[in-house]
């Protein structure tokens, strides 16, 4: 079996960070906060987090925070729960959570929880179980899990459980590896994994592996790396 060429991966990640003018970089400018999380976590796993300038990253992150406490995907972009989590994750990675007002961020997340326990992505109201996971994960990192209504959040997630044991983005939504990762993750953090039909879901997840060995996100779809990653984590 081959070995991971770690150095090449590190060089690639650092080069992407610098190439702000490439087409890919521009078209994804609005989600640079997510990109930062993925890239920096990868560097950290390879033990190379010190190759980036911590202060530069931290000050850029803080410049993306809004009055509401939420973070945007890049400077000038509106706050959204997606980028708020990435921001908190990156700060936690650098052990710099002390630079942020934890309660302010928590309040932003709390303000996004709806009556039925679900979470909106931002003030415009899009609801998705992805946001449930993001909210729970974020306040969990900040040690403020008790500030959201955990019971209702869990009830909402369970209401998105389907005939195959999987989860969709909203009640009645089709099971999808990505949503399953988010729902299982949220239930794990809140200690509610007993509410999952483990055997049924486990079987559905195993069936995502196709003959080539790759993993697809839903039945009768092509395999891809994103689904592969989400599935491996969800299967735990």
């Amino acid at each position: 079996m081959g070995e991971l060429v770690a150095d090449k991966h590190v060089r690639y990640i650092l080069s992407v960070e610098k190439k702000k003018d490439s087409f890919e970089s521009v078209v994804m400018e609005h989600l640079r906060m997510n990109g930062a999380y993925w890239g920096l976590t990868a560097l950290d796993i390879m033990g190379k987090l010190d190759t980036v300038d911590t202060n530069e990253v931290v000050s850029w992150i803080m410049s993306c925070q809004h009055e509401s406490g939420g973070f945007g995907g890049n400077v000038g972009h509106d706050p959204h729960i997606l980028y708020t989590l990435s921001a908190v994750q990156v700060l936690a990675l650098f052990n710099k959570l002390d630079v942020v007002d934890v309660d302010k961020v928590t309040n932003y997340i709390v303000s996004l929880q709806n009556e039925d326990g679900s979470f909106s992505g931002d003030i415009w109201g899009e609801v998705d179980t992805r946001f449930s996971y993001i909210a729970i994960c974020c306040v969990s990192i900040l040690h403020r899990l008790d500030r959201i209504n955990v019971e209702k959040a869990v009830k909402y997630i369970i209401s998105c459980k389907n005939m195959d044991g999987g989860f969709g983005c909203t009640p009645g939504g089709e099971s999808h590896a990505g949503q399953i990762f988010c729902c299982v993750g949220a239930l794990a953090i809140t200690g509610s994994l007993d509410l999952i039909d483990k055997d049924l879901l486990g079987w559905w997840l195993c069936e995502r592996q196709v003959k080539s060995g790759g993993l697809n996100g839903r039945p009768e779809k092509l395999p891809d790396i994103m689904s592969g990653m989400l599935l491996m984590v969800g299967s735990f």
Binding site: V26, M163, I189, G191, W204, L222
Partner: protein, 687 residues
């Protein structure tokens, strides 16, 4: 994009792309400036439209559009309001053409629709056209759910739609899924025409048969079929399926001392010096609301309300098993007198399952308690002897004597309608040929046969299909080795169900354990070694067990064991337990004294895949005794031992065997001895 290989760019392509990037960057920075300064002029709006048509993922631009609409609404007359929104819809259409999976685009459309100025009928027409082109797009299905809700389209109409879509292409998992969701809804609220579950399921079986026979390789039909089987077999309402003590049993206790009971031990038990008696209620699914208002316990020996506890591995308030402990030591029980205890479950509403169904009808259990003088007095300060698990220490049980030996297995199971059994029977007949050669076919047959056996009453002498089912799973392990662990688990469950289903089948596995110190008493051990068990099951039939030998199997988990509240001696040696978190269920076993976990894989795996299944400081549901832990750890690396600490800190073991595990080095061994102050024997040696 899926399935496309990456190719390095050619030089000409690079410069084109570079120009494109520059244009986009300019567009985006101009947009951000407009947004920042709240400029909503026509020019600014056109710019944002251009941006979104190029890059629909730029979420801030969708927000901007909404702000612009709100701003311009206040300044326009009623005529132009509709066109204002039409403009937005047109933009979404263009954006979706660029990327029909754009969350931002779909949500913007929902936002526009919810304002109420657009034609919903037009939306449905557009949607139908879109879904014809891509019937698997889940954004479209979600949007459909939104629109049909807005126009209050009936579930019945939507059900017909799924039928149409499936009719065009049977391999439409999305359509089958939606069908299951709509049907569940109709069945749950007993809508007109859907109040007879049987009739509905009958039709569904016919529907899915067409799909499966047309293309047996496609998964959609099979998953739906599995759901149908589950709907046919399951009992929505929570029910009590087992208890200890069981209905009509007599529990005999040995009393030591005159009137004051110094200790009680169950007849034929290794328990001694204990003064609590558990009462265990085992339901068919997880429930909440078990308390003194919903469960009444009547007896002359009880003076106060009892507190019922849910037995769940992670401190949840819902559980399939509930227990209460009678503090017999505090009661004044007279020798040779029989006390009766009556338990009424569900005498008032409040017991609810996690999917909202209430306990059906009140059920009752009554049993008797009797105290007799012990044959021998226990010697003060006497050490318990080292438990040996050798064959020579066991003697087969010829026949069962006491009625409190084995829990009765048919508690309150309502007679299932004949239709369910017939439906499953028919499925087996219909699919017999199809099911024989492919993997999913064999699995479905195994599941159908299991369902059939489940629906047959326990006392039915008609031959059960256990052998056939076991054979199918064994074949599946060879046919589909990547999923062999799953088949192994199912095989274990079926085997355990067979063994524990009756006294006759249990008898060969029951042995007396001879202990020389108490000559007149011999405890019964349930011996289940060498059965290739990879998981436990049928625990509802094993609540009476005090001594259990599960050695020489392939157990990776002991989930369910937390219900075995009488367990005091447990042998798990020579299994495949790979982490301390897998031993989580043991934490609930307050009576456990003897534990053998030698020759497992504790410490062999660097990653614990079970970590989140059990309580841990990471799961936020546990109060972790950090202080005591740190003191006991001393200079050792804390992370190495905290899982073990979590398991053992609440147990009162007298005998522990951990040899043959990678984790059991000197450091660990001395740590565990400190955690267990009651320990007398370690690794078969006296401490």
């Amino acid at each position: 994009m899926h399935g496309r290989p990456r190719k390095p760019l050619k030089e000409e392509d690079e410069s084109v792309l570079s120009a494109k990037a520059e244009k986009l960057r300019l567009l985006q920075s101009q947009f951000l400036a407009n947004h920042q300064n709240r400029i909503y002029s026509k020019e600014a709006l056109d710019l944002s439209a251009k941006l979104l048509e190029n890059n629909p993922e730029c979420y801030t631009a969708w927000n901007y559009r909404k702000l612009a609409v709100q701003h311009n609404l206040s300044q326009s007359d009623s005529d132009s309001v509709a066109s204002l929104f039409d403009q937005e819809l047109k933009l979404v259409e263009n954006a979706l053409r660029k990327n029909f999976k754009s969350y931002g685009a779909w949500h913007h459309r929902k936002w526009v629709l919810s304002k109420g100025h657009s034609s919903i009928d037009h939306e449905m027409r557009l949607l139908n056209g879109f879904q014809k082109a891509d019937p698997r797009n889940f954004h479209a299905w979600n949007y459909r759910r939104f629109v049909t809700d807005l126009m209050k389209r009936s579930d019945e109409d939507e059900l017909k739609y799924t039928e149409e879509v499936i009719g065009e292409n049977f391999s439409n998992y999305s359509a089958w899924h939606n069908r299951s969701a709509i049907l569940s809804n109709l069945l749950k609220r007993k809508a007109e025409g859907f109040s007879h579950k049987e009739k509905v399921l009958q039709e569904e079986y016919e529907h899915v048969r067409n799909a499966i026979f047309t293309d047996p390789d496609d998964q959609s039909g099979w998953f739906y079929h599995l759901w149908l089987i589950d709907q046919t077999v399951k009992n929505d309402a929570p029910l009590l399926v087992s208890s200890w003590p069981s209905r009509g049993s007599t529990i005999t206790l040995n009393g030591h001392g005159n009137n004051r009971l110094h200790g009680l031990s169950l007849l034929n038990s290794t328990l001694s010096g204990t003064t609590t008696l558990p009462i265990i209620l085992y339901f068919n699914q997880a429930v909440e609301g078990i308390n003194s208002s919903t469960v009444a316990v009547k007896s002359e020996i009880l003076k106060e309300d009892l507190v019922w506890k849910p037995l769940s591995v992670n401190n949840s308030s819902t559980a399939q098993v509930w227990v209460v402990y009678l503090k017999l030591g505090n009661m004044e029980l007279q020798l040779s007198k029989t006390y009766s205890i009556e338990i009424t479950i569900g005498y008032s509403a409040g017991i609810v399952s996690s999917n909202g169904y209430h306990y059906g009808y009140p059920s009752q259990i009554a049993f008797e308690l009797c105290v007799q003088t012990a044959h021998t007095e226990p010697v003060e300060g006497q050490y318990p002897k080292l438990t040996s698990w050798k064959d020579s220490d066991f003697q087969k049980v010829d026949h069962f004597e006491e009625s409190n030996f084995v829990a009765s297995t048919d508690h309150h199971i309502p007679t299932t309608s004949n239709w369910c059994r017939e439906a499953i029977d028919e499925e087996i007949t219909n699919y017999q040929d199809l099911l024989s050669d492919c993997k999913i076919g064999k699995l479905t047959l195994a599941r159908l046969l299991t369902a059939l056996d489940l629906l047959s009453p326990e006392h039915d002498k008609r031959k059960k299909h256990t052998e056939e089912i076991l054979k199918l799973y064994t074949e599946l392990m060879k046919l589909d080795p990547t999923h062999s662990l799953y088949y192994k688990d199912e095989h274990s469950l079926v085997l355990l169900q067979q063994i524990t289903s009756s006294e006759e089948s249990l008898l060969p596995h029951c042995h007396y354990y001879k202990d020389a110190t108490e000559t007149n008493t011999s405890y019964v051990c349930l011996r289940l070694q060498n059965l290739l068990l990879s998981r436990m099951g049928s625990i509802k039939n094993l609540l009476w067990v005090q001594m259990l030998d599960l050695s020489h199997n392939e157990l990776r988990s002991i989930e369910g064991l937390e219900a075995m509240q009488l367990l005091s001696c447990l042998n798990l040696s020579h299994n495949k337990l790979g982490s301390f978190t897998a031993l989580g269920p043991l934490r609930s076993l307050k009576s456990l004294k003897v534990l053998n976990i030698s020759h497992n894989e504790l410490g062999s795996h660097s990653i614990d895949t079970r970590r989140y299944l059990c309580s841990s400081p990471l799961a936020h549901t546990e109060v972790f005794a950090w202080d005591r832990f740190e003191i006991l750890c001393g200079s050792y690396s804390a992370t190495k031992f905290w899982e073990a600490f979590l398991i053992f800190e609440s147990l009162n073991l007298t005998d522990l065997n951990i040899t043959g595990n990678a984790v059991a080095d000197e450091n660990f061994t001395s740590f565990i001895v400190k955690v267990l102050p009651t320990l007398k024997y370690l690794n078969d040696e006296e401490l």
